[in-house]
Every structure is written in C-alpha cells, then in structure tokens.
Symmetry: C2
Subunit: 215 residues, 2 copies
C-alpha cells in the first residue's frame, strides 16, 4: 500500500513537471514572461499585482494574470478591475495550482498581448511548493502579521523561491514582529534569496521587487 502510494506520487510530480516545461515553452514562444506568486492567505499577493501592473504599464509592458483560489472570485475581481486580461482558476478542493490548471488558464489568455504574466497561487505556505507551473521565477510574499516565525516554519517554501517579500512593514511594531528574524531565516534557508520589505498601502518597496522580478 505504502509502496503504491509513493510510486503514484512520483508519477504525479513527474507528470506535473512535464506539463510545467510545456507551459514554459508555450509562454516563451509568445514572448510572455511568467512569475508565480506564493504566500499565505492575506499576505499581499493580489495587492502586489495591483501595485505592479501600473508600474509595468509605465515601462511599456502589458500585464496579465491568473488568479488561483480554492473557491470564489475575490482576487480575480480585483485584478480584472485593473483592466488587464485575467483568468480565475478555482481549484475546488485542491490546496495549490498545478501545471495542468495553468495550461488551461493560459488557453483563455491573449498571450500575444501580454508581456508579463502573474500567476497568483492559492494562499498556502506548504502545498504549492511541490508543483512547478512553468514560471520563470517564484516569489514568496509573507506579512509581518503572520508572525516572525513564519519563515522558520516553512523551509521548503523559501528554498523554492528566489525572491522574498516581507509585506505590511507598517504593522510590524503593532504585532511585535521582528522582521530582522524573518530576513535572517530567509537567508539561512536560501542564501541567494533577494529580500524586500514592502507596504502595499503606500507602494513602498514595490518598484524594487518589480526590478528583481524582471531582472
């Protein structure tokens, strides 16, 4: 029983990785650069997209988005309001996007009109890490209100992402969050990680995050 489980699990990951490679090739053919945004519920992933889309427009780049959620269209509605092509990807009961869902979402996007595609994963610090989607980079967003032990608790997430965003810096003193601990934990798990502190309410730090994403 256990043996069968493990074999199927490997098959699932292998199949996902194959599809992710196909997504990546398909996006490149159309000149689209895709970025996977990860993090817990409410960390600020949608807000980051809201802040980056106009900055991209200022640089002459057109954005698109896939909004991943278990249920509902709250994030999709916010992103669509920006006037960019967006697809709502509901997972139903699944705790993460996978390459197959993203493949279908991409089919509904006008790829030739998109330069930068943001794929907002389901709010979850654990499950999305195992499933590549075909994005060029993975960005993880945490917020001060999640507690300064949030990074330490999730080694795989920070090993799997190349950019780390610490959001809601304005609330850190109110919740007793030591952002230096978060940053030190990020560097311990991933010495190469590019780390930024942001406040999505004011836009503080977002331009630097976008630079790192596009670099």
């Amino acid at each position: 029983m256990h043996h069968i489980d493990v074999r199927i699990e490997k098959d699932v990951y292998a199949a996902n990785d194959r599809l992710a490679a196909e997504n990546s090739a398909h996006l490149k053919e159309h000149g689209v650069r895709a970025f996977d945004l990860l993090g817990a519920i409410g960390s600020g992933k949608t807000s980051l997209i809201e802040r980056m889309v106009p900055l991209l427009a200022g640089r002459g780049l057109a954005a698109g988005a896939i909004a991943g959620d278990v249920y509902g269209d709250d994030d999709f509605t916010r992103i669509a309001a920006l006037g960019v092509p967006a697809v709502n990807a509901n997972t139903g009961t699944e705790c993460h996007l996978d390459a197959h869902l993203v493949e279908h979402a991409i089919d509904h996007l006008p790829l030739d009109k998109i330069d930068v595609l943001f794929i907002e994963n389901v709010g979850n610090m654990v499950c999305p890490t195992d499933f590549a989607l075909g994005a060029e980079k993975r960005v993880v967003v945490v917020s001060s209100t999640e507690g300064d032990d949030v990074v330490n608790k999730h080694p795989m997430m920070f090993r799997g992402c190349s950019i780390g965003v610490i959001n809601k810096v304005d609330l850190a003193p109110l919740v007793g969050c030591n952002m230096d601990r978060m940053e030190a934990d990020m560097r311990r798990y991933n010495p190469e990680m590019k780390i930024f502190r942001t406040n999505m309410k004011t836009g503080e730090g977002v331009e630097d995050v976008l630079d790192a994403i596009l670099k």
Copy 2:
C-alpha cells in the same frame, strides 16, 4: 491511473477516520476533552491557547497541547512555557496533522493529568479540513489581517468547524477589513457556527470562546 488514485485516496481517508475514532475513544477513557484548532499561519491559534490555559486553570481544569507544524518548535516552545504538558508534532512536508500523528503524540502525554487537550493544527486553511483527528469540536481562527474575503475563499473550512473566531479586531480598521462580511460569510457557509471576535493582545473575547468550546 486516475481510478487508482481515487481508490487510494478513499482508503487514506477511511484509515484516518478509523484512527480518529480510536483517538476519540482513547481520550474519553482518560477523561480528556480534545479540541482541534485550525486556521492560517499567524491567525492566532497559539495565542488563543496561551490565553485559554490560565482561564482553564482558574476553573480548576488542567490543559495539555499538541503543537502541529511542518517544521520547527516555535509554537511548541510558547505552549511549553505555560507549564502544561505539550508535544511538538512536526509533519516534515505534510500540510496538515492526521489521526496517526495525533495518536503518537497522545502516547507522549500524561492523559490522566489533562482535562482539556488543545490540538493546534498546521497553519493552513485547506488541507486540515479533510483529516479528522479525534477531537470533540473544531475551532477555526481567522484574523482581520488575512482580508475580509478569507472566509468566502474557504467554504470547506467553515462547514467543518463549529466555532469561528475572528481575531486581531484591533487591526481591522488599519487593514480595511469588514468583519461583518467575514461573519456573514461564516453564517452563509455554516448557519450553526458560533462566532466570536477577539483580541489576543488584551484577551478580549477569549472567555466567551472558551465557554463555547467547553459547552
């Protein structure tokens, strides 16, 4: 392939349910009432335990706890500092506790010295819902900083819990969170849900949550 997947999935859930029933019987034999605390990372599950333990002591009831996390002992350390028997349950890569992990954790607890056992699940709004642990009730803790769409995004979580706690009420105005929407969404998914608003910094609302848990 898909067919095999589904059958194994059913076996996993059935096996977990059997073990959960055994945990429940085992705890009852020792006069222990167990409660599963669920919610996202940083919602306030550990803080709720920190606030309830002394209240229980004031009522002549001894607490114990199982601290579930993917990795590390941050929550365990906080709970152990209260001087109550506690076990750290690291899932390694899994995104939720299961009845088997809880069975082992229970083995390390002095059950005859515990009246109320809090089982703090992994911070995750999706995965824990499918895995019963053997607890009498499930309590979900959300915080205003997760955004007022957090409930709508997670129907299964709120259908599966009987008590809903909206925490960090003091921060709601700062993050533009409409707690009435959260509460309305909870009632829509689960009309029977007992709903409370709390501030773990001051202890506001915690006594009422404890009353509902013990009722």
